[in-house]
Amino acid sequence: MPATDYQGSSASLRHSILSLRRDPVHSMDSPHSTSTLELELETFQRQVTGRLLELSSAEPDRLLSLAWIRKLLDSFLCCQEEFRVILFNHKSLVQRPPLDRFVQDYFERTVKGLDVCNAIRDGIEQIREWKKLLEIVLCALDNQRMFGEGQFRRARKALIDLSISMLDEKDSNASSVLAHRNRSFGRQQASSRDQHQRSLGHFRSLSWSVSRSWSAARQLQAIGNNLVAPRGNEVVATNGIAVAVYTMNTILLLVMWALVAAIPCQDRGLQVHFPIPRQFPWAPSVFSLHERILEESRKRDRKNASGLLRELYQMDRCARVMSDLTDWFQFPLTEEREGEVRQGVEELANVCEVLKEGLDPLERQVREVFHRIVHSRTEGLDSLGRPNHV
């Protein structure tokens, strides 16, 4: 069965899996364990489909939010665990070619995901830095009885720092690490102070984790490299487990890709090929997610975003609003203006609150993904009976 003929092979895939029960040559150990395997594989596919469906049917303002990302990671962890159990329960099958190759290939792909996890963790840290600047704005303007110029200046300074930082992040491939601070309110540029160009710590983008040559886009390409659905004969030869491997590979790619899309990291290219054969029950969900996220990245106001995380968008928007509002020098404020400021501050406070609640758990989850990948790879390679030698 040629690999390119996706439409045609759908029937044969199902047929292949079903025929295992009838074909004594391919039944391993006992017919009983084969049917257990079949059940496990079916359940696995069902679970995957269900989770992906839930994720892909998120409302527009929920997609790529912190909560959604956490759900995405949670789904990954669950799928990963179920997959691991399948491999564990059927070690003897896993050790036989060609399945051993497929599984080994899967583990190699997951290792490439480890660097993505680390980069994402740094991205989360970066978002925290931005949140801290917003907290200064809140400190200046929240819960104030009246607004004065001093508070506005304070807020504005933080907002300028924020916008420079976010710009720096986007241009992280550029050589500039030092940021020129815009002195606000027309203070003269003092020459000797210029000489000490201030490289504000929180402006540097991701200083100590990845080298300048690391690229998220390249990493994603590597994860998705040569990812093709198993052919009919391969499915038969592996008792259907090859399908589970392919499924897991796809989920891995999707999750890593979505993380890179959402969170700031170095060289966030989203052009990764997702060639998914339509006969898989979860294919429509994956396709839909892919389309929706890509579309999001193409939107006018999100094109140059450092990350598509919804809260980042809100943060950016609030910051812009506050920037405009604080660009004002007539005090005391009119009631109308004051109202606008208070509203802006309230929205900002909400975003900060969401970030405050959500960033730490997200980081922990990303770390959990890292650890699980390492653990299941070690376990998996051990059970493949390989002496873990190069």
Binding site: K112, C139, G148, R153, R198, H371, N388, H389
Partner: protein
């Protein structure tokens, strides 16, 4: 002044009223039958009255005084705004004057802060003006802080922190021989016994600490603690990054690590081992102290700042370790895994000291995770090593019966391993050892230690492999020479190093016996037959016997002079022993046959024979001195 007069009178009048009211409250309060609610009302009233006293007090001082105070401070602050030079560069008086000015602004704001919402006009205007000046001053102080930290950075020598490196074990994929002259210095432990705070250094000129503290004080008091912390953290992070790059740490991704050549990786690991120690024990400890010096008075800000500063570098160092621990687990990596494990185990107390607060438990759990994984990697590699020995297969017999490269490699490998005896014993006993706080354990070198058992198992695997290799020889004698050489080498290695503590006398005795037995077997295999040719069996003529003997001896000579026994003592011993088997028989033969005049068949005296036996086992370097054809 009439105004002042009336104010004074008003004040006095007010004070009387307030005092009277407070007296009434006191009397009421002494009533024991009061309800909770009533008592609360009384308390509130009392504090309200007290507050009023303050308000009237400040009012008494005169609003104009406050305004004057602000104007004065404002002048000082604004004067500096148009000044390009740095305040703290311009001398201590300027600096303290500025701080004082800022403090005064703060006092003014506190004073004015008691105003109610309904107050319009001058007080509120003044408050906003003060706030504005304050913001300008805070912004300036942030810059000054940054410059102070940059300009007064201190560098220091690292030479008094020595980190002896272990011997570099050269691994060759094909098990080709390793130099026997590797110096195995097992006294390489960095047990300098220093107290941890001996390593703390001054990161910033200590003279500037009061200045930095005063900036911190004033910024915190004015509610600008966030700005202070961010500027502070930013600079400290920069400084730490600089240290890391001075230690030549490259930013390697996990992919990079997995795709690197081993010798490059080995270098990186050595750098890492050194860096980890310096960063944690010197820099971070010093940084923590510095944070404490500056921010110790402000609640938990010092530990918050410290964690933020150290996060990125700690995580990087730990990530590198994780990447290495992913494998693959080739035997040559064992020493690096053990180095990494040991350095982290050594530092775990330092780490606890730095990150022990509950909020920082994530750092410690990552640390412990890595430690565990490195330990597991080490054990896996150690066990893999034994597998590798078992699987090492030869197709052809090893020339000249010499010491096989596998033997050399294995014995040198395990000799080097003895330097890690403590750690290996710990890990072999329990893969997740609880780290002892006291590192004064003695090396458990008993032959019954886990290490001892494993090492004997390894040599036993080696022996089995050697026996298989010896079967490749067509010549039975060479089989014995080969095994004799190799087992003798093993025994020498064990006797001459720390290995003897792990193997024990019993093992040495037993293996002495083994190689000696091979020597005996060799003699029997080669010489029994040859010597038997001299015997008079009644049927063969003397001439024939001489001819057969000569040929046999000649063959043996031709072949076995090219065999090699590298150890000179062993060679000599075997030659002597062979002599003792052959020469007396030959002498006897000569004695019996000398009378018959059969000298013409006998070519050599027993002396000649002895000399020729000394040519045996010399190896290819030996050029045949006696190229006689018999």
């Amino acid at each position: 002044m009439p105004g002042c007069q009336s104010m004074t009178t008003t004040y006095e009048g007010e004070q009387h009223v307030i005092a009277a009211a407070q007296h009434i409250l006191k009397v009421l309060g002494e009533n024991k039958n009061l309800t909770g609610d009533f008592r609360r009302v009384l308390t509130e009233l009392d504090s309200h009255l007290s507050a009023m006293t303050i308000i009237t007090e400040s009012k008494r001082r005169g609003f104009s005084e406050v305004e004057e105070q602000l104007k004065c401070a404002e002048r000082k602050v604004m004067r500096w705004e148009s000044n390009p030079s740095l305040i703290w560069d311009s001398g201590p008086t300027e600096a303290s004057e500025y701080i004082q000015a800022v403090n005064e602004i703060h006092t003014v704001m506190e004073t004015l802060g008691g105003l109610s919402m309904n107050d319009h006009g001058r007080p509120k205007e003044l408050a906003f003006r003060a706030q504005c000046v304050q913001q300008i001053a805070m912004s300036r102080l942030e810059e000054e802080l940054y410059h102070i930290l940059v300009q007064h950075k201190q560098s220091f020598e690292l030479k008094n922190i020595s980190f002896p490196s272990r011997v570099d074990f050269v691994y060759d994929e094909s098990f080709v021989s390793v130099e026997d002259e590797i110096v195995n210095d097992t006294s390489q432990r960095d047990k300098s016994g220093r107290e941890s705070n001996e390593y703390i250094v001054d990161l910033i000129d200590p003279l500037l600490i009061p200045d930095i503290k005063s900036i911190a004080s004033v910024m915190f008091a004015s509610g600008y603690d966030r700005e202070f912390c961010e500027a502070f953290i930013g600079n400290r992070k920069d400084a730490l990054d600089e240290h890391l790059s001075n230690l030549e740490i490259q930013k390697l991704s996990i992919d990079d690590v997995l795709n690197s050549e081993w010798d490059i990786l080995s270098c990186e690991i050595k750098k890492w081992v050194r860096a980890v120690k310096i960063i944690i024990r010197v820099y971070l400890a010093s940084e923590k102290q510095f944070c404490n010096q500056i921010l110790g008075d402000f609640g938990s800000h010092d530990s918050y700042c410290f964690v933020e500063i150290s996060r990125a570098s700690i995580f990087y160092l730990l990530n590198f370790g994780e990447a290495i621990a992913l494998g693959p687990y080739n035997p040559e990596k064992l020493f690096r895994f053990l180095d990494m494990y040991e350095v982290l185990a050594d530092l775990h107390l330092d780490m606890e000291g730095l990150f022990s607060e509950v909020a920082n438990s994530f750092v410690m759990s990552e640390f412990h995770d890595l430690l565990r994984r490195l330990g597991a990697s080490a054990i896996t590699t150690f066990l893999e090593f034994q597998n590798a020995i078992a699987l090492n297969a030869s197709i052809h017999p090893f020339p000249r019966g010499e010491i096989h490269p596998l033997t050399r490699y294995v014995m040198n490998y395990i000799t080097t391993l003895t330097a890690y005896g403590d750690t290996l014993n710990l890990l072999l006993k329990d893969p997740n050892p609880v780290l002892e706080t006291d590192s004064g354990q003695d090396i458990c070198t008993s032959a019954f230690s886990p290490m001892g058992c494993h090492l004997r198992s390894i040599t036993s695997t080696l022996e089995s492999n050697l026996i298989r290799k010896s079967k490749l020889y067509k010549d039975g004698s060479l089989e014995h020479i080969f095994l004799m050489n190799n087992i003798h080498y093993m025994v020498q290695k064990v006797k001459g190093s720390e290995l003897r503590l792990f193997f024990g006398d019993e093992w040495i005795r037993k293996h002495n016996g083994k190689f000696q037995q091979h020597a005996t077997s060799y003699e029997r295999a080669t010489w029994s037959f040859v010597v038997s040719l001299l015997r008079d069996d009644g049927r063969t003529s003397l001439k024939e016997r001489c001819r057969r003997f000569s040929n046999a001896f000649n063959d043996v000579y031709k072949i076995q002079t090219r065999w090699c026994i590298p150890d000179l003592q062993l060679r000599e011993d075997l030659q002597i022993s062979t002599s003792q088997k052959v020469i007396p028989a030959y002498r006897a033969f000569l004695a019996i046959n000398s009378r018959n005049g059969s000298d013409k068949y006998i070519k050599y005296t027993s002396d000649d024979m002895e000399k020729m036996l000394l040519d045996l086992f010399a190896g290819p370097s030996m050029s045949l001195r006696n190229s006689h054809r018999w």
